[in-house]
Symmetry: C2
Subunit: 300 residues, 2 copies
């Protein structure tokens, strides 16, 4: 069988089976970050993201500084998903020999600016030759043990919330999004977060990551989805990737106007966590209940 | 200017200047590992190595399991250079869609076997599509603060030692080398290591890394070089890369037979650390003193 046939998620499942979790890792393969019990009160968080020219970005269409910014921002979003504080990053690059030095300067400029904003420090990396430009960033962060947010804690009855708006990120937000680091810290400080993830694969897919990991079902309401004006349709809010918003669940009774105010950005209650046997469903704008597929949902 | 003209070391210098070391990092860009002061008594070590198909290896000539082994071993060697203990690793992959799953299984097999030998745990990674196979491994390790070996501690009068034999690693050792983790730990436990590095770029180049960082000079003796039988000439022991042996300095008077016995492998005294103004020299087999260039030395 070829990798293209197996697909990414089944590949990750395979790797997970071959590398059972050992002593010190609290969470490992398949989560947003690896979580390591490093000191008595704190966890160490580790996450990697690789960006490949002509797979993830087209240098004819996007400036090097935006690529550099995004490369770091995607990993910061993984740290945010677990309510961590990013501390350090390592950059491994593959660079075509003919690439202008000015390109790399610009690439680093985008990264530096974002890194400064969040107090993250570049500590090393590796530089190599290749035919295309590739960047792999590893971010190391930390969090108090009591503040860790994870995807497997959703409970039946929880309300489901999402920050910001969803869909159409391909029009620009995929590069210029704000990693929700500050918001995540406010959430774990002021609310009883049961589960959290960042939306990188699309709402439908990432909601299923929460329900699968938590052993629960969910119902969301199409009419409540905070559809971005960049989205081509409501469907985009479910299936478009790279929104990098936070998807989280709270015990019933939480008020989204309080959340809005505390976080200083729109937060929308989009549904409820239900029992596992009820599956993951969407109630369409026409009031019909449909099964939510990882790639969105089938209208008929 | 293009990257190919600037070269790797000048590029690293540029990056170092743009990212001055901040608060928590003890050592950062340009060393074998980043060293972070994470807890009171221990440092955290972080290192990354990227391997790219057709740049670093040719899948027509080498099995996936050997590539997998090497990908991890190269980072473990960086941990060894600082006398650290490797704990965790993260694997970011770029995989062509048409690659057989059996290839990846074999790749991971080579990695797993080595990881088990040294008790290193896979904790995460990222998987992507690309036209060629790329693997970026980040290893996280630790060491007691007092055990840290660094490249900048060489002192005038030190003897210079090297483990194993050098040169010709292209014939096989570049894949099957033993990262000198155990040996490094014995060295910091039983000897007063002043400086250490692993030989990845070649003895001449890595010796200059030690002398540059320490602000010293060095004299080595061609006749004493432990030339591997795989090396094409004595010159290969100076300039061939990927030996992954340890190069270190000890206060004068250390005996290489004691080192041999403690480490259980050949250790050779190859020269002495001298004052900075005397430069880095090699005494040839004919008794002539030559300047040692990073790429070896000029005979005439």
């Amino acid at each position: 069988m070829r990798i293209g046939t197996l697909g990414e998620f089944r590949f990750i499942e395979r790797v997970k089976k071959r590398f059972p979790k050992q002593s010190n890792a609290v969470l490992s393969i398949g989560d947003d970050c690896a979580v390591l019990g490093f000191t008595r009160g704190r966890y160490l968080l580790v996450t990697s993201d690789m960006l490949i020219q002509d797979v993830h970005f087209d240098l004819k269409k996007v400036s090097p500084s935006r690529v550099g910014r995004k490369a770091l921002a995607a990993s910061l979003s993984d740290i945010a998903a677990m309510a961590g504080i990013p501390k350090y990053y390592v950059v491994s690059l593959a660079v075509p020999a003919g690439m202008p030095v000015a390109f790399l300067d610009d690439f680093y400029s985008g990264m530096i600016k974002l890194a400064k904003e969040y107090g993250v420090e570049l500590i090393g990396g590796d530089t190599n030759r290749a035919d295309v430009f590739i960047c792999d960033i590893t971010v190391i962060g930390e969090t108090e043990k009591r503040s860790l947010a994870r995807r497997d804690g959703a409970k039946t009855g929880d309300d489901i919330f999402v920050t910001g708006s969803l869909g159409g990120s391909i029009k620009g937000k995929q590069y210029d999004f704000t990693p929700r680091l500050r918001e995540a810290r406010i959430l774990v400080r002021d609310f009883r977060i049961h589960s959290m993830i960042d939306i990188s694969d699309g709402l439908a897919s990432d909601l299923c990551h929460i329900t699968d990991a938590s052993g629960v079902g969910a119902v969301i309401y199409e009419a409540r989805l905070p559809v971005s004006r960049d989205a081509d349709s409501k469907y985009g809010a479910l299936s478009d990737g790279e929104d990098y918003e936070l998807l989280f669940t709270l015990p019933p009774g939480s008020d989204d106007t309080v959340l809005n105010r505390k976080l200083g950005l729109p937060v929308t209650k989009i549904g409820k966590v239900v029992q596992r046997r009820r599956g993951v469903k969407i109630v369409t704008s026409e009031g019909k209940k449909r099964r939510l597929e990882k790639s969105g949902f089938r209208h008929f």
